[in-house]
């Protein structure tokens, strides 16, 4: 089961330098599978809908979310418990996904990605013929 959404450690990507000098965080995710779809929920506080970039290349799903930091002006930072930065994470999805119908929404800083399974891979019952 865990094979379905394995995390990708993209070696090539790791060697490519980014042009933005902000930090990059690994967002916490929930991945759940329904009969007809796979749903990915990711915490990406500080990112608006337009800042999310999702790609599905072959079987690798990549999420990149660009943060628009809101820093209070003329204020001094007195205490830091969390850092601000972009979010990036990739998974391999072994199910066939209906690419045309992928849906992504962002609400209150949570990305909700619905990946509908292609019709052909939705539950198929195979009856074993007695020989």
């Amino acid at each position: 089961m865990s094979e379905v959404t394995k995390e990708v450690q993209d070696k090539d990507r790791a060697q490519v330098e980014r042009t933005r000098s902000t930090n990059v965080y690994t967002p916490d995710v929930d991945i759940l599978e329904k009969d007809d779809s796979i749903i990915v929920l990711a915490d990406i506080p500080g990112v608006s809908e337009s800042g999310v970039d999702i790609t599905l290349e072959k079987d690798v799903l990549s999420i990149f979310a660009k943060v628009e930091p809101e820093v209070p002006e003329k204020h001094q930072l007195l205490r830091t418990e969390y850092g601000i930065g972009d979010y990036q994470r990739s998974f391999t999805i072994s199910n066939e996904i209906d690419r045309e119908k992928i849906d992504a929404t962002v609400k209150n800083g949570v990305l909700r990605l619905v990946l509908p399974k292609a019709k052909a891979v939705q539950t198929r019952k195979i009856t074993v013929q007695a020989g």
Partner: protein
């Protein structure tokens, strides 16, 4: 190695270095969780200040703004709230469950007494911003020295 290329997508699974990379990633995530919120420490706060006010910001994505409860008393600020889990329907199986759910409550001490009446809070893109002005009675006053 030529023979791994024939295995297609399983080639990555057999490569010990990519496995190590995955492990490192997972370890970092787990460790960062210890440094970061435990139930009493959640959510994380950043505090910004001037002489006249402080701004407390906190990342609490996925919370309905109406469920956030903020109370101020003297120099302490308390933020309470609740994040509901995704409704479990029939036939749903979890592959990963890393996101945080439940009730939280956090209290912090601020550098000065707050004018409780004038506290303002705003919730945008999963981040809570609380502006807390310093109490008028506590603001430092300049005293002019009269010459005799």
């Amino acid at each position: 190695m030529l023979w791994t290329t024939g295995l297609g997508k399983f080639a990555g699974g057999l490569d010990p270095w990519s496995q190590l990379g995955c492990m490192e990633n997972e370890m970092n995530r787990m460790l960062s969780r210890y440094a970061y919120p435990t139930s009493s420490e959640f959510p994380a706060f950043n505090v910004w200040g001037t002489n006249d006010q402080v701004i407390v910001t906190s990342e609490i994505p996925g919370i309905e703004p109406s469920s956030i409860d903020i109370s101020v008393s003297g120099t302490t600020l308390t933020v309470r709230g609740l994040r509901d889990p995704e409704q479990a329907e029939k036939g749903v199986s979890y592959h990963r469950r890393e996101r945080w759910y439940g009730k939280f409550s956090k209290t912090i001490e601020l550098p000065f007494t707050i004018e409780a009446e004038k506290v303002e809070a705003r919730f945008s893109k999963g981040i809570l911003y609380i502006t807390l002005p310093r109490s008028e009675t506590e603001k430092p006053r300049k005293v002019k020295v009269k010459s005799a």
